[in-house]
Amino acid sequence: AEAAELRARLRAVRHTVLVLSGKGGVGKSTFSALLAHGLAADESKQVALLDIDICGPSIPKIMGLEGEQVHQSGSGWSPVYVEENLGVMSVGFLLSSPDDAVIWRGPKKNGLIKQFLRDVDWGEVDYLIVDTPPGTSDEHLSIVQYLSATHIDGAVIITTPQEVSLQDVRKEINFCRKVKLPIIGVVENMSGFVCPKCKNESQIFPPTTGGAEKMCQNLNVSLLGKVPLDPQIGKSCDRGQSFLAEAPESPATLSYRNIIQRIQEYCEQHHFQEEKIM
């Protein structure tokens, strides 16, 4: 009966993309937010962003929605809307203060994730983007399990160039394979820095073992793109503004836009193939 409830709620969701890593602090939330903004630029598309990082929900701040509260209506919880076609849900909206620590064990976290999926009234959604915490644990197992009620187009996996990150990301790739979650591809963040003054390029996080490129070759997954470091990215996140809108000329913006397009193409193609089969 529960599975049927979830299926009903998620029936109007056309595409679902999970943003994963394995490593913390590589830019999952940053990427999830920009993916949401990028897809919502097309006003004819309805985009939903779900933040299931219960201990460290970054999405409210990154989307400029800190302090917002969730409202209940007859049809469930209302997402918080950034634009008419971009709705957001995060545990951050349920806290009375942004400094409140959510110190929950796995089962309680799973319960909240299920509630998000069951009780949030998303309406008709073209893209549901799910931002996750680092790791391969309760939240990840649960989201894959609960979303099996609908279908997940795939996972976008975020990394930085260094081996200490890749090490954890390889585990995440194995997790995806274990739970039969298709991998749309890998994004390498913090991939080089071009000095705005002297235009010299530095590798702040040197790819000592070949970076995401080598890892993707070895594991036969797609490298969606590399995004260089740009101090404006962090600033935009802190201020709750879309980096793509704040710095349209940045090489990082160009990279992000290319990656977002590739994800969109993957989802559309996937849908088309499914329709063909049906």
Binding site: G22, C55, G106, P134, S137, R170, K171, K178
Partner: protein
């Protein structure tokens, strides 16, 4: 009645390295702190309780090591220039380095308890405990398991943003 000498009986101080946020340098700081204390002549151990993303073995170049058992439990891997820093991490228990540890909370909790009670640390001045990001199972469990011992305190790591 025999008073059992626990595996942590010889540890003088325990330091937790925490954040909340991932990727800010907890494991890096834990490693450097251990090396610096060792340089200053202290006896040091590192307990890596990041079960999903154990970074410490690679940072100390022992990612290919395995652990052995003795009468009092697991023997830590000895690292550092003089092989005098004792290290325990789930990294050493994995069959393959790329194996994902896809465990729910209760299984993680059980292993963390075991890491606290079943590693033969010996006599240490400092035991540094590296944690994963967040405020969840691992953190609750490690604090509960360490409560009977001399918990010196926590060091919190952040970045400026």
């Amino acid at each position: 009645v025999f008073a059992e000498r626990t595996n942590l009986a010889g540890v003088r101080h325990i330091l937790l390295v925490l954040s909340g946020k991932g990727g800010v340098g907890k494991s890096t700081i834990s490693t450097e702190l251990a090396l610096a204390l060792r340089s200053a002549g202290k006896r040091v151990g590192i307990l890596d309780v990041d079960l999903c993303g154990p970074s410490i073995p690679r940072m100390l170049r022992v990612q290919d090591s395995a652990v052995h058992q003795c009468d009092s439990g697991w023997v830590p891997v000895f690292v550092g220039q003089d092989k005098a820093i004792a290290l325990m991490s789930i990294g050493f228990l994995l069959e393959r380095l790329d194996d994902a540890v896809v465990w729910r909370g209760p299984k993680k909790n059980a292993l963390i308890k075991q890491f606290v009670t079943d590693v033969a640390w010996g006599d240490l001045d400092f035991l540094i405990v590296d944690t994963p990001p967040g405020t969840s199972d691992e953190h609750i469990s490690i604090v509960e398991a360490l409560r009977p011992y001399q918990l010196l305190g926590a060091i919190l790591v952040t970045t400026p943003q």
